[in-house]
C-alpha cells in the first residue's frame, strides 16, 4: 500500500473520531459565571392539554438539563389571568414557569432579599396578585401568588406572596427584610413553605388554623378590619370585627415559657385569661364581645408567644422586628376549648361569658391526693420487682458462662484423643501431610487474585508512564472486555444522547428498545422459533461443509 493511501486512511480515521466528539461535549460542565441562568429550551403541548417543558439551568459551576410537565388546568388563554407554576426541579432547585399557552417563560426562582424593603400588602392590593401555582411538590391545590415581579432578564425578584390551600383565601404576605439571609429565603422556597422567612409585616386571614412562633422584641396585634373567606366585611371599621351571623368563636392561645406578664389594652379581656398547667394562658374571646373591641393587644417583650387562630375571622396582625416561623394547620391542637357556657364551640352571646368554676370543689382535690398515693405505691413496688429481676438475670448469666467453660474443656480433650487415634480422620500424621502439601502448593502456585492484581498494577503503571503510546493496548483490552460482556440474551437496541456539535442543541434523546418484547405476540414468537431452527440448520450445514473442505485440503497436501 502506498504512502498516499496510508495518509488518506489516517485522515479518515481522524475525521471519524472528531465527528463523534460532540457526544462527549454534551456532558461537559460549563462555567457560566456567578449568575445562575435558566433557559427554556422547548415546550410541547401534549394531547391532554398539558405542557412539557425542557429547560437548561446554567448554574455557577455546571449546567443541568431538566424536564417538567405542567397540567392543563394551569393554563388559561385568557389574557387577564396570569398563572405561574412553581416547581422544584430534579436538581432540587426551584423554578417558575409562566403558564401562558402562547408564550411560556421560565424563571429560575432566586429570591433576593435586600432590593425591596418595606413592602406591605393591604386588603385591596391583594386582588392584584397573580397566582403562582405550586406543582410537583405535594400535588395539592396550593398556590402562591406574588405581588410584583422584577425581572432583570434572568432573576425573578418577588416582592410578596400570597399562599392558599384548598381554595381558601389563607394568605401570608410580606417582604424580605434587609437583614434576612438569602440562603434562608432560598430554603424556605425549596421546602415549599415560608418557615424560614424573615418578614416584618405580615397579614393573616383565612379559615385554617395558623400557628405562629414569634420571638419578638415587641409585638402588637393590631385589630383592624375582619374578613370571612373571600367576603369582605367591615362593621366597625377599626375594631376586630366579625360577622354576627357566624357561629364560630375566636380563640387565642397565648403560652409563654417565661414569666407571664401580658397586658391588654382592654381590661375586660383579662377575665378570659386562664392559666394552663402554670405554663401558658388561654384567652378565649366570644364573638360578640370582640365586636366591641377597639384597642390592640400588646405583649411583654422578650417572650415567645404561640398564637393559634381557629376562627374564620382572623384579622390582620402587624408585628415589628421579629423572626417569624409559619406552621401549617395540624401542628397545633385546640384541645383546651373551655369556658364556653354555650356548649362546644358554638357561638357565645353577649359579653357576659365567664370562666366556669370547678363544680366539684374540694372533692376533686381529695380524689387527686388519693390517686397520687396509689400511684406512688405502685411505683415503689415496680421498682422492687425490677431490682429482683436484674439480680436473677445476673445469676443466670454467671451459670451460662460456667457451662460454656466446661463445654470448651471437654471439646479440647476430645480433640487431643482424635489427634492420637490412627483410625481417626484427624490423626496428626494426616494433618502433617496436609500441611506439607499446602506448603508446597503455596510455594509454587500463586494466590487466586495474584495475577489479576499483578497485571492491573502493571497496566496502570504503564498507562501512567507511557501515556498515549499505551492507549492502543488499553483500547484492545477495552474491546475484548466489551466483547466478553455482550449479553446476547437481551437484544437491546440503544441510541445515546445526540447533540448538535456547535450549538449543543439536543437532536436525539437517549432511547432503547428490547427486541424480545416483540415475542410477546404468540404468532410472531412461533415464526421466530421456526426461523431460529432454520438458521441453526443452515449454520450446521455450512460448518460441516467447511470441515469437509478443510479435511480434504489438509489430507491431499
Amino acid at each position: 500500500m502506498s504512502f498516499k493511501k496510508h495518509f488518506i486512511i489516517l485522515l479518515f480515521i481522524i475525521f471519524l473520531l472528531f465527528g463523534f466528539m460532540p457526544f462527549s461535549y454534551a456532558e461537559t460542565d460549563t462555567d457560566y459565571g456567578i449568575m445562575p441562568i435558566s433557559v427554556l429550551d422547548d415546550y410541547v403541548l401534549n394531547v391532554d392539554g398539558s405542557y412539557t417543558f425542557t429547560y437548561t439551568h446554567h448554574g455557577q459551576n455546571k449546567i443541568y438539563k431538566g424536564e417538567v410537565t405542567i397540567p392543563a388546568n394551569f393554563f388559561d388563554d385568557s389574557s387577564s389571568v396570569q398563572r405561574w407554576a412553581l416547581f422544584i426541579g430534579d436538581d432540587g432547585k426551584p423554578y417558575i414557569v409562566q403558564c401562558s399557552s402562547s408564550y411560556p417563560t421560565l424563571y429560575y426562582f432566586f429570591a433576593t432579599y435586600n432590593t425591596i424593603t418595606g413592602f406591605g400588602v393591604n386588603a385591596s392590593g391583594s386582588t392584584n396578585y397573580a397566582k403562582i401555582y405550586e406543582y410537583g411538590v405535594n400535588g395539592k391545590d396550593e398556590f402562591y401568588s406574588h405581588g410584583d415581579l422584577y425581572d432583570d432578564g434572568y432573576i425573578l425578584y418577588p416582592s410578596g406572596f400570597l399562599y392558599s390551600r384548598n381554595l381558601n383565601v389563607n394568605f401570608v404576605t410580606g417582604s424580605f427584610s434587609s437583614n434576612s439571609k438569602p440562603s434562608d429565603v432560598y430554603n424556605g422556597i425549596k421546602n415549599g413553605s415560608f418557615k424560614t422567612y424573615y418578614i416584618y409585616d405580615v397579614m393573616f386571614r383565612g379559615t385554617s388554623p395558623y400557628l405562629l412562633d414569634i420571638s419578638a422584641s415587641s409585638l402588637s396585634i393590631a385589630l383592624g378590619t375582619a374578613y370571612e373567606g373571600y367576603t369582605y366585611e367591615d362593621d366597625t371599621g377599626n375594631g376586630l370585627s366579625v360577622t354576627n351571623t357566624s357561629v364560630d368563636e375566636f380563640l387565642l392561645d397565648i403560652s409563654d415559657s417565661g414569666a407571664l406578664s401580658h397586658s391588654f389594652g382592654y381590661d375586660g379581656l383579662k377575665k378570659y385569661m386562664k392559666h394552663k398547667d402554670g405554663v401558658g394562658q388561654i384567652l378565649e374571646i366570644p364573638f360578640d364581645y370582640l365586636t366591641s373591641l377597639d384597642n390592640s393587644l400588646s405583649f411583654t417583650s422578650g417572650h415567645q408567644y404561640i398564637v393559634n387562630f381557629t376562627s374564620r375571622c382572623i384579622n390582620s396582625i402587624s408585628i415589628s422586628n421579629f423572626s417569624y416561623k409559619y406552621y401549617d394547620e395540624g401542628n397545633f391542637k385546640t384541645s383546651f376549648l373551655y369556658g364556653s357556657t354555650g356548649g362546644g364551640t358554638g357561638g357565645q352571646t353577649g359579653g357576659n361569658t365567664t370562666t366556669p368554676d370547678d363544680p366539684f370543689g374540694g372533692f376533686t382535690n381529695s380524689v387527686v391526693d388519693s390517686n397520687d398515693r396509689v400511684s406512688n405505691s405502685i411505683k415503689e413496688q415496680t421498682g422492687a420487682i425490677q431490682n429482683q429481676t436484674s439480680k436473677i438475670e445476673e445469676q443466670t448469666n454467671a451459670i451460662e458462662e460456667q457451662t460454656e467453660v466446661n463445654k470448651n474443656i471437654f471439646e479440647r480433650i476430645g480433640d487431643i484423643l482424635n489427634f492420637l487415634n490412627p483410625f481417626s480422620e484427624n490423626f496428626f500424621v494426616y494433618k502433617l501431610i496436609e500441611l506439607l502439601v499446602e506448603a508446597i502448593k503455596s510455594l509454587f502456585i500463586p494466590s487466586d487474585d495474584f495475577f489479576s492484581t499483578y497485571f492491573d498494577e502493571l497496566k496502570s503503571w504503564f498507562s501512567d508512564r507511557l501515556g498515549f503510546l499505551f492507549y492502543p493496548f488499553e483500547l484492545i483490552l477495552d474491546i475484548l472486555n466489551r466483547i466478553l460482556s455482550i449479553n446476547f440474551n437481551e437484544p437491546i437496541f440503544s441510541i445515546p444522547d445526540i447533540n448538535e456539535p456547535f450549538t449543543n442543541s439536543h437532536l436525539i434523546s437517549q432511547t432503547s428498545f428490547n427486541l424480545n418484547s416483540l415475542l410477546d405476540n404468540s404468532i410472531f414468537s412461533t415464526i421466530h422459533s421456526i426461523y431460529l431452527v432454520c438458521v441453526d440448520a443452515f449454520i450446521v450445514f455450512k460448518l460441516v461443509n467447511l470441515a469437509r473442505e478443510k479435511y480434504e485440503e489438509v489430507t491431499t497436501k
Binding site: R465, L466, I483, N489, F493, S494
Partner: protein, 90 residues
C-alpha cells in the same frame, strides 16, 4: 511463592527500565469520543442474539475459528504426536 517472587522481580525491573519515561496521556475528549463510538457499536451487538440463537453462537464461533485454522491445528497436533515415541507416528 517462587513464581510470585519471580514475577515481582520482573515487574521491578520493568519499572526501573521504563521509569524515566513520562509521556502525556491521550486527550480525554478523544478517548471519551472513541468510548462513545465503541459503546454505540458494542451496545447494539447484542441485537445479534435476536437473529441467531445465543447457544448456537457460543458453540459455532470456537468451532469456526478452529476450522479456519485447521491446517495449523493439524500440524501442531501431529508435531506433538510425533514427540511421543511409543505411538510411532512419522
Amino acid at each position: 511463592m517462587i513464581l510470585e517472587t519471580l514475577l515481582n522481580i520482573i515487574k521491578v525491573l520493568l519499572q526501573v527500565i521504563f521509569g524515566w519515561i513520562n509521556l502525556p496521556q491521550m486527550p480525554e475528549q478523544l478517548t471519551s469520543s472513541i468510548g462513545t463510538f465503541l459503546s454505540l457499536i458494542f451496545d447494539n451487538l447484542s441485537l445479534l442474539g435476536f437473529f441467531i440463537r445465543p447457544l448456537t453462537l457460543t458453540l459455532t464461533i470456537p468451532i469456526l475459528i478452529i476450522l479456519l485454522n485447521f491446517e495449523q491445528v493439524y500440524k501442531l497436533t501431529i508435531w506433538i504426536l510425533k514427540k511421543i515415541p511409543f505411538l510411532g507416528v512419522h
